[in-house]
């Protein structure tokens, strides 16, 4: 019995002793940063954190009396800026609940690795936090404008990420995905960019990084072409010239590469299915011939979409289709021949498209068609 009593006393004492290194802080003593922005100027980095403050739930009023506030810190490096941020704020700060990281245009141009390094070394940071680039704007301005316009930035960003999930099978802009992509130096990193509109924030397309520095912004169609090739498209509208609207219901993409005399040939195989969503034509599209016509037309439509990122890659020599990984995986032995001068080979890659599709009739109420 003595042993048990001693053990029961000993364990809490040992743990108590260790708890100094365990970052013991009450939840109400911490400001939980939810959105983090990183900006760069000639003076250094500015880190801005958005958190909720103000005494919490007003039980009598039955509502939430808290408000969104921004705290900022500056420094020569993002880590220095983060420490400055912590120093300036009256409460302890925690970045454990950061759900969104906004990278200002200048910071992105200065280098993605510099922005993410301190975050990747923090054991509390969520690996699934989503990263966006703020196009034509600093992240701080983006956040401040949002607050001034009485937008709830956190909720808007959440809506954006949910919308992304509606159209895509997965979010590839999580911290862990981007950090993994950064390890592959031959391919370009793609991060969605945000545009600030009056109605809220919008995702238009991808930001292209070359050697971890912002290089370009892709338009909507090129970005969607990439989504199809990356096999992450879940839902997509197709508007055909004959007045028929379709919606993607299934998509499966596969890339095959062939090497012939240092010439890379890539075949993009895409199988997809669509549902008819709108018919604004008198033509009999539900006949066998009509459906074959629709299938051919939607194949052309999607092929055009796929050609956009392909043409961009051929024109710029940027590996936005992650071909380096493809060749390395499929031709592991020969990859070493390509590795050193990989960007040069990208200009001469030959692409083939093998697009197959199927149109499904949709149920329609009170109409025979």
């Amino acid at each position: 019995m003595k042993k048990i009593i001693l053990l029961l006393l000993f364990i809490p004492l040992v743990l108590w002793g260790c708890s100094h290194d365990m970052n013991r802080r009450e939840l109400d003593e911490i400001s939980l940063i939810q959105v983090l922005g990183i900006d760069y100027s000639s003076e250094g980095y500015t880190l801005s954190g958005l958190y909720k403050s103000g005494g919490g739930t007003d039980s009598e009023a039955g509502g939430d009396s808290s408000s969104e506030e921004v705290v900022q810190g500056t420094g020569k490096t993002p880590y220095e800026a983060y420490e400055d941020l912590k120093h300036k704020h009256k409460k302890n700060l925690s970045i454990a609940h950061v759900g969104y990281l906004l990278i200002g245009e200048e910071a992105a141009k200065n280098g993605l690795n510099l922005c993410l390094d301190f975050l990747s070394r923090d054991e509390t940071v969520k690996m699934e936090l989503l990263i966006y680039v703020t196009r034509n704007s600093d992240a701080l301005d983006f956040i401040k404008n949002g607050i001034e316009d009485k937008k709830t930035i956190q909720e808007d960003l959440e809506a954006i990420s949910q919308k992304q999930q509606e159209f895509l099978t997965r979010n590839d802009n999580t911290l862990v995905s981007i950090l993994n992509d950064m390890k592959r130096s031959h391919s370009s990193i793609l991060i969605p960019y945000l545009l600030s509109e009056e109605s809220g924030f919008l995702i238009e397309g991808y930001t292209v990084f070359d050697r971890l520095k912002l290089k370009d912004y892709l338009d909507r169609e090129t970005s969607w072409g990439i989504n199809f090739i990356k096999d992450i498209a879940r839902s997509f509208p197709i508007y055909l010239d004959n007045g028929v609207g379709l919606s993607l219901s299934y998509s499966k993409a596969k890339l095959k590469s062939h090497l012939e005399n240092n010439q890379i040939k890539v075949t993009i195989i895409l199988d997809f299915e669509t549902l008819i969503k709108e018919v604004n034509t008198n033509a009999d599209i539900f006949s066998k011939e009509g459906l074959i016509f629709l299938t051919e037309e939607q194949n052309k439509y999607i092929t055009k979409l796929l050609e956009k990122p392909v043409n961009y890659s051929l024109a710029t020599g940027l590996d936005i289709l992650q071909l380096a990984r493809l060749v390395e995986n499929q031709h592991h032995k020969k990859w070493k021949d390509f590795e050193e001068n990989w960007p040069e080979y990208l200009y001469d890659v030959q692409y083939e498209f093998d697009v197959h599709s199927k149109v499904s009739k949709s149920f329609i109420m009170g109409n025979e068609r």
């Binding site: 809490p12 013991r24 939840l27 039980s59 808290s66």
Partner: protein, 484 residues
């Protein structure tokens, strides 16, 4: 007191006890005086007058007997008829019988007595089990009288192999016990071991059930119950046919079952009364509740004090908002409310039922709501403790529920000083402790830790009855087949 059966010695010994009756009966014709020896209140006087005393007064044959021996022979061969009639020469046994409610006829010259079992004392009628009630199932429960309890068991098991062994414990109380088992199923080594343990008990009085329990459990330092009790005869019957051994104690309205394992304590008679999927679902909910009641308060402390990143952001924010302006730390709030909860339970037990209900309302709603309004505790903690408390009441066994409640405190303290690290230490200690427990040669976590697949059909999930083909291997080494 001298160990000779003699009325004078008995009269002298019980001279100050007014309830003990030692009364002479003179049989006039042969001039022999015998003595009645009994306890007023424990005997059925009407039956005594009719079946025994009338024989002494009006039976001609008895009056013709010239010696005490002749009288005894006549009485024992049916002169005074009763189901239980016995000649006794041992003074200790005579005292035991008489003090348990039988009546003795003392023959001084022979230094012997004849015992008649005409016990009749006030007893509770068989009612519904208060703690183990079921909607679909038998409604009878054990009462404080051992013989009725053994009869309830025998009514359900009409096997010739059902053995009801008589034992006696307590130097002063001389409490009767029955060791019940099915001789062709139960492990006789375990039966012998339990019998030896009972026989070795050297206490003067068995006043509460805990007295017996503590002597029978193998690991006395463990919080977890290692002996199962039930109020339900059907449950005892089921366990007996599984090879377990029952112990019926006079004066205790439930029956003990041994060996006891943790999964047994999580089973309810309702599991078998319902469809197997419903029974399994209920059991899964019970296990989930055990995890919730054990870990939720500690998890809350660890998550709000150390590793807040474990909480989803919305939950972290709402918890943070709820905790604003509360002067105490999360650990103090949780531990304080846990203690308050225990006080409320304890107060509710001691109070009359009508006052107890009012107390619950006062304690749970008024004090809880006022404490939140006064910002003494955060609403989140009240919710956490309420969920943990209610989950704890789902346990079918109150001893297990109490053990979990105590261990919940330990885990909360460990979480308060070490966060999830402390919680992990507590969990490891708990698992090691449970794994180390052994109950009459059977692991406490059996059948979870058993290799034999057939043992797992009535654990976390309850399989259909047709799959219960074998008895638990560790409990019944032989005769394992239940059905083909």
């Amino acid at each position: 007191m001298e160990k000779i059966i003699n009325s004078k010695i008995l009269k002298e010994h019980f001279s100050k006890s007014i309830d003990v009756v030692i009364r002479p009966i003179k049989i006039t014709q042969n001039n022999i005086t015998v003595h009645i020896f009994g306890v007023d209140g424990l005997i059925n006087t009407e039956l005594f007058d009719r079946a025994i005393l009338q024989s002494f007064k009006f039976d001609k044959n008895l009056n013709d007997c010239r010696t005490e021996r002749a009288m005894m022979d006549y009485l024992l061969s049916g002169g005074a008829y009763h189901v239980f009639t016995k000649e006794e020469t041992d003074m200790d046994l005579l005292l035991r019988y008489v003090l348990s409610g039988m009546i003795g006829i003392i023959f001084d010259q022979e230094q012997k007595a004849i015992i008649y079992d005409i016990r009749s004392f006030e007893k509770r009628s068989i009612s519904e089990p208060a703690e183990e009630g079921v909607l679909k199932g038998a409604k009878d429960s054990f009462i404080e009288v051992m013989r009725i309890n053994t009869a309830l068991i025998r009514r359900r098991i009409r096997s010739e192999y059902l053995v009801v062994e008589s034992l006696n414990v307590g130097k002063v109380s001389k409490t009767d016990m029955s060791l019940v088992y099915i001789s062709n199923i139960a492990n006789m080594d375990t039966v012998n071991k339990i019998r030896d343990k009972i026989n070795s008990i050297d206490i003067d009085n068995i006043s509460t059930p805990a007295f017996i329990e503590e002597y029978l459990i193998e690991n006395k330092k463990s919080l977890f119950p290692q002996i199962m009790y039930t109020q339900r005869p059907d449950r005892v019957a089921a366990n007996l046919s599984d090879g377990r051994i029952a112990l019926v104690v006079d004066g205790i309205p439930f029956v003990y079952l041994l060996p006891c394992q943790l999964p047994m304590l999580m089973q309810s008679p309702e599991d078998y009364a319902n469809h197997f999927l419903i029974g399994s679902s209920l059991r899964v909910i019970r296990y989930l509740s055990m995890v919730v009641t054990l870990f939720l308060p500690a998890f809350y402390i660890a998550a709000t004090t150390y590793q807040n990143q474990m909480l989803p952001v919305e939950l972290a924010l709402s918890t943070q908002a709820a905790k604003q302006n509360v002067p105490f730390s999360s650990a103090a709030e949780v531990l304080g409310l846990l203690i308050s909860f225990e006080i409320l339970i304890e107060a509710g037990l001691r109070l009359p039922k009508t006052v107890g209900t009012a107390m619950s309302i006062l304690g749970g709603l008024v004090v809880g709501q006022s404490a939140v309004s006064a910002k003494l505790v955060s609403p989140a903690v009240v919710v956490i403790i309420a969920i943990a408390g209610i989950s704890g009441f789902i346990m079918p066994n109150q001893d297990l529920s109490s053990a979990i409640r105590v261990y919940r405190f330990i885990l909360s303290v460990l979480a308060a000083v070490g966060g999830f690290f402390g919680l992990a230490v507590g969990l490891i200690l708990l698992i090691v402790h449970l794994c180390s427990l052994d109950n009459y040669g059977v692991a406490y976590l059996s059948p979870f830790v058993d290799v034999d697949e057939s043992n797992h059909r009535d654990t976390l999930m309850r399989f259909p009855i047709k799959y219960f083909t074998k008895r638990p291997q560790k409990i019944v080494p032989k005769n394992r087949i239940k059905q083909k």
